[in-house]
Amino acid sequence: MMEHEFKYAVIGGGIAGVTCVEQLSALCPDDKILLITASSVVKAITNISKVTSILEDFCVVEKPSVYISENCPNVTVKQTRVTNLQAQKHKIITDEDEYEYGKLCVCMGGTPNIISKNCSYVLGIRDTESVQEFQKRIANAQRIMIIGNGGIATELVYEVEDCEVIWAIKDKSISKSFIDAGAAEFLLPQLSQDKQSSTGSAPTKRRKYTIDGNKFRDIGHGTGTALGPDWSEGLLLKGLDKISHNVKIEYNVEVEAVMEKDEYRITLTDAEQDALSVWPVYVKLTNGTVYGCDFVVSATGVTPNTETLLKNNKFEVAEDGGLKVNDKMQTNILDVYAAGDICSAFWNPSPTWFQMRLWSQARQMGSYAAKSMVSHTRNQDILMDFCFEMFAHVTRFFNYKVVLLGRYNAQGLSTNYELLLRVTKGKEYVKVVLKGGQMQGAILIGETDLEETFENLILNKMDLSQYGEDLLDPNIDIEDYFD
């Protein structure tokens, strides 16, 4: 007999949704939990699950692992698309069926913004499906254009080899949302050097994510789960030519028009047409330059995936299109919570935290939303998870480790701050944001070994004025000093 009533339901099989379900399952092993996902479910690759059987021999209680369908008997996974939500009736309606829930968490992520929706030469890159498509196309490409200045664009520009890349960004420095202009200057030389081949034998320090479940059914565009960390590892992102890096950056531009070959040719004079080098697609930028290329990648962010939910429910929506949530991850609608890219944090945040649509925050929100739902069911008080006290994100750009802590770009501090800086070309970039002598944030690029110390200094709120720039003097073992 088909189950239709569930204590908890989660919509979305990406990192936020899966983490939410993991946490719910761990907290309520006896309650029925439903996970609805339009695409395959993300799972974390880990050896932990295999530890479970050994542990049982020693009579140690081990919580369920992350292989949802295998190890969490109280979780039902349905791969189907949600067509409607009747929140007042606590009902979810899908392509195939209807379900009732006690509490619901929506983790439906965001739909990639594509600069030109109808052109087949413009590829959005946001989820694993689009990455696979990209891989196919790049193999036959000599030149591509990448539009966007966020994390995906930054990583992609570096990863692509044997193909000319035109990188068009609307800012005056690269990777603006992640790093500052100084760090951008520091990283740029990497683009003119050969790409470092990744050492496959070195152990990875992070959990790896991949796709579990059935082969992807074409349910509809924009329903894939977002890319997790290390998404480009193991992928062959090579073009036709035999050059390592060949990147040209166009600053302060946006796309004015995208034209296919014939569409563009018509606009030219006969002489110009004859002189034209032939490409399948042409992009005109706002600075007047026109580039021809094999295809265009649009890595220009996402729009929260709220269309279906807003059909019949009066959710409060933020300016960026996300569902507003309070400090308990609740939307304004009873028993509906939201986590990950689909939500917009609308509480008064700690001075050193802010929302950014990252996989790490998706994971934190998914976990916290689950705890929140359970505590409300049990009428218990809940304190916000400490991860919302200070922003922290670790990633890799251009083959450097990048650690971002707190208000690393002095976000929200107007001009009321000062910076400490230490740079060693080609090795490391350390920038600290100080306000009133207290560390508010830091950017650490390279193997600095400072992240733990700085995390502690930010959270300790210690007055560092007496140290001045000696704080960053490499002759002082600063992490030992504060040990």
Binding site: V51, I54, G182, A184, D477
Partner: protein
Amino acid sequence: MVIRTYNEEQQYLEKISSCAWKIKKGFVPNMKVEGVFYANDALEKLMFDELKNSCHSQGFGGFLPGMKQIANVAALPGIIGKSVGLPDVHAGYGFAIGNMAAFDMGDPKAIVSPGGVGFDINCGVRLLRTNLSEKDVSPVKEQLAQSLFDHIPVGVGSKGVIPMTAKDLEEALEMGMDWSLREGYAWAEDKEHCEEYGRMLQADPAKVSMRAKKRGLPQLGTLGAGNHYVEIQVVDEIYNKFAANKMGIEHKGQVCVMIHSGSRGLGHQVATDALVAMEKAMKRDKIEVNDRQLACAHIRSQEGQDYLKGMAGAANYAWVNRTSMTFLTRQAFAKMFHSTPDDLDMHVIYDVSHNIAKVEEHFVEGKQRTLLLHRKGSTRAFPPHHPLIPVDYQLTGQPVLIGGTMGTCSYILTGTERGMLETFGSTCHGAGRALSRAKSRRNLDYTDVLDALAEKGISIRVASPKLVMEEAPQSYKNVTDVVDTCHAAGISEKAIKLRPIAVIKG
């Protein structure tokens, strides 16, 4: 603060043996006792260079040289014996790291200072043995490292694998390793081989603030980043066969695992909270100190007692943390070698703390006294026959685990009677860096970065670029020099040397 020339400063310093110097009263104001620091020739040069630099105002402003810090500690109320600088002594917040100071519990004016314990309360080292050899582990080194990374999360923001609720944390703060034992994460024998048996009884979770608990909850069982690490090591040298056998070390090439970690964010918050509370109390109780960072309180005061109870809670947390990582390490190895931790003989050799304050009984001028010992960057080293060390080490003395900086060699020492007399049973903890301005180059190669970063009204202060370690070896007090000095001074004896073959860190 009196500014003297380097020559003038030297009047207060006297070499008392081939490896020890005395710091006379007057070196800094208000010294109640003398200071002493241990150093061989190489380390001595570093200590004096550091002092010389600070005299010539090429010092580091907010960072005092180690010698001055040792002396400032000697000026604290209630200090007894000497303010001791171990061979690895180097600049730290408040007390130098590698500074031991004891305070007479019978003196109502005696103080306790969080700077004398450190922010990372109960940062310490645990060593596990195995019955594996290097030849067993070398071929699968990478897979083993990966297995450890899978079990032990690393890096800032990493989340623990072992489930823990707020209630669990409360119990862990109170019970230390007893909590781990109850939950099935530890073997009973592990407790025996741990300082304080892995639990300080005076811990009171109520004296650990909510913020500290919040910082601690997600970090349990994670390795964070920085100088904490898990190292797979092999026995490189055996200096004392008898002691080694008692520790279960039979031969060179035997594989061990060293876990170096502490109480992380929780410890930091406990220390920070106490420093704030004590700064206020110092005005009320009219306590004067030479350095603001030496914020302290009378041991019997509310603030003093609150801190000691909170500190004990944080210490318990650190033991639970090392125990959790022991558990995860055992699983990783068992899985790797298709065996069980028991069959692999993965016992805890010992677990020492090098950032802690302890109440201990010692003889001072022939009389037994109860003292509060601050060991910051300093390890307890009790001699043979001491009642507080486990039965199997009664004849050898307490094992002392010295982790070099990650990637360099480590040592196991044993405690001595002489150490008991000279340093109240304390010895070094590892390596260290002296403050050094040598060969610092002002590399202006990054003007383009500065230009890009410049913004109206924002001050940007620039520090010198980072020198690669190889270029500045002279500021470095390496662990071998440090350990040899302790051995020469007779305050602890070398037993075993270990060399790393793989390291797990953030």
